[in-house]
């Protein structure tokens, strides 16, 4: 069954482009261009996946997630952005998005990312993987939950390969793991990213200005 998708982006042109690229493989049930429109729409339609622009005129994508998550916990969010600024990306992930891809992503890869998120997996772009590796840098003294505040060597390895442009399948082959295991590692990193109280995360995201 095709995943039911709501598209939230304030640029009509961009929405039209995405519609054209993914309409064959997903079922686009609704579109919105503001936080105020998106929240009631998503609550009403209860889609599988919301493609969410990080920047919206009346607040960020975080606002949409905050307005929906309580009532519709099953709705998954995939963040789309041209910004690539670390504080935006980390912010929307920590708010609850299950993945982040750049708007320059190809149609085929976007379809793939939507399907992955619909199944409950996490989707990291190479750039996001780089951010996360930087933010979870080893060697800092920690005060919080050590399990949540650190990446395991294996998670680090997987993230590094994502940053280097490897797909899950290629990572699995290279590390002699199953694709399911790779997905489990990425989901685990996502959970840490969302739940870690590691204060470096927010500080790092604020300080960081991406080229």
């Amino acid at each position: 069954m095709k995943p039911r998708v709501v598209l939230v982006d304030d640029h009509e042109l961009f929405r039209a482009g995405v519609r054209g690229e993914i309409a064959t493989s997903v079922d686009i049930v609704g579109e919105a261009s503001t936080v105020a429109d998106a929240v009631p729409l998503i609550r009403e339609l209860d889609p599988d996946v919301v493609l969410l622009d990080v920047h919206l005129p009346d607040g960020g994508g975080e606002g949409v997630i905050a307005g929906v998550a309580q009532e519709r916990p099953a709705v998954k969010f995939l963040a789309l952005s041209v910004s690539d600024a670390a504080e935006d990306v980390i912010g929307v992930i920590r708010a609850g998005a299950r993945g982040y891809v750049t708007k320059t992503i190809s149609g085929a890869e976007l379809q793939n990312a939507i399907e992955r998120v619909a199944q409950g997996d996490a989707v990291f772009s190479p750039r996001l993987a780089g951010f996360v590796l930087d933010a979870f840098r080893a060697g800092e003294p920690l005060g919080g939950d050590a399990e949540l505040d650190n990446l395991t060597p294996r998670e680090r390895e997987v993230l590094q390969l994502i940053a280097r442009g490897y797909r899950y399948k290629e990572i699995a082959a290279r590390l002699h793991l199953s694709i399911k295991t790779v997905e489990a590692h990425v989901s685990s990193v996502l959970r840490k990213l969302q739940l870690s109280s590691r204060h470096e995360l927010s500080r790092w995201a604020q300080q960081r200005r991406l080229v």
Binding site: D84, T104, R127, A129, G130, F131, A163, R164, R209, V211
Partner: protein, 353 residues
């Protein structure tokens, strides 16, 4: 001064409509105003004097007699409070100074000039008034002088700050406009001219996107100063020259010293090779700055190649990549097999070799 631009009330009047006028102007109950005047009238007749002053001002709009009456009223209040003659002199000077300042251009509002006489009177008044009045005069006098100065000079300084902020804003705006003109508008013009050539349009748009992004989120300087910025430059150049998108990801960053520059040049060569020979639709570059080494990975999903089959006179890989890294004290590893793409791994220890 706008609070003084009241008209005497013709329908709400007991004597001359002054209280009614003030009440209307300040939007309060007239009885309240009358009560204040009545209480002031008990203080040596000050209320009566103030009333007369306002009446005169409202009738003739002549400030001087009104101000004089005000000063008298103030004196009456101070006398009623039991102040000495010296303190009264100080207070009078204070009021006179204030009046002079106000009369000399209303400089309590920003933009006015600073009448020196007024300032001098204010300071002298403050010194005398507070110097003679009360046991803590020694402590209060300098404070009063400072207060008087702030009262008069403050708005003027504030004006300067506002002007400065405004100037900076205008300057920034001009810079943004110049930038948009030089880059975005030029690019849009280029895109229109090449509308029939989609790959070229895509390349132009992508380069513009990179430039704009660097300007918006980066350091804003033309020459890259960090490793990641330099890699982004190299990626943009390769993209433009060969029309293959280069995705750059990074964790951490480092200063661009000579060795790092060699690393960037080697990475650029690897990107160029991938763009020219691999046939891949996209190149992935990842830079990681660790505590003891800097690593750059350049990966494509192209055809790959057989090292042994590369003609010996083709010196690109040996010289530009491996030789360069070796001289800088690092290592270059090239992993490739025909049919499964290529990954060039460049590593440079951070401590000087």
């Amino acid at each position: 001064m706008s609070a003084l631009l009241f008209e005497r009330s013709s329908d709400d009047r007991v004597i001359a409509g002054v209280c009614g006028g003030i009440a209307a102007r300040l939007a309060v109950d007239a009885t309240l105003v009358r009560l204040v005047f009545a209480i002031l009238a008990l203080a040596g007749g000050a209320g009566i004097l103030v009333y007369l002053a306002l009446w005169i001002y409202a009738r003739s709009r002549r400030a001087l007699p009104a101000a004089a009456l005000f000063a008298l009223a103030s004196a009456a209040i101070l006398f009623a409070l039991g102040l000495s003659g010296t303190a009264l002199l100080g207070a009078t000077l204070l009021v006179a100074g204030l009046v002079t300042v106000l009369a000399g251009g209303g400089s309590l509002r920003p933009g006015g000039s600073l009448p020196r006489l007024g300032v001098a009177l204010l300071i002298a008044g403050a010194v005398i008034f507070l110097g003679r009045h009360g046991a803590s005069g020694d402590l209060l006098a300098p404070g009063a002088v400072a207060g008087a100065l702030i009262l008069v000079v403050g708005p003027w300084l504030w004006q300067l700050t506002v002007e400065r902020a405004e100037r900076i804003r205008l300057q920034e705006r001009a810079e943004v406009a110049a930038r948009i003109h030089d880059s975005v508008l030029q690019t849009l013009a280029l895109i229109q001219r090449h509308a029939g050539d989609p790959p070229r349009v895509a390349t132009i748009a992508r380069r513009q996107e990179r430039e704009l992004r660097r300007w918006l989120y980066g350091s804003g300087v033309a020459d890259a100063e960090s490793l990641v910025a330099a890699l982004a430059d190299a990626a943009a150049d390769v993209e433009e020259l060969h029309g293959v998108p280069v995705e750059l990801a990074s964790a951490g960053d480092a200063a661009l010293d000579d060795r790092a520059r060699q690393l960037v040049l080697a990475a650029r060569e690897a990107m160029t090779n991938a763009a020219k020979f691999s046939g891949a639709a996209e190149i992935a570059v990842y830079a990681e700055v660790g505590s003891d080494a800097v690593s750059v990975f350049v990966r494509d999903r192209g055809t790959g190649f057989d090292r042994a089959a590369v003609a010996p006179e083709r010196r690109g890989i040996a010289e530009s990549i491996e030789g360069r890294l070796e001289r800088a004290g690092g290592t270059a590893t090239i992993v490739t097999t025909p049919g499964s793409g290529t990954e060039v791994e460049l590593e440079l220890p951070r401590t000087e070799a």
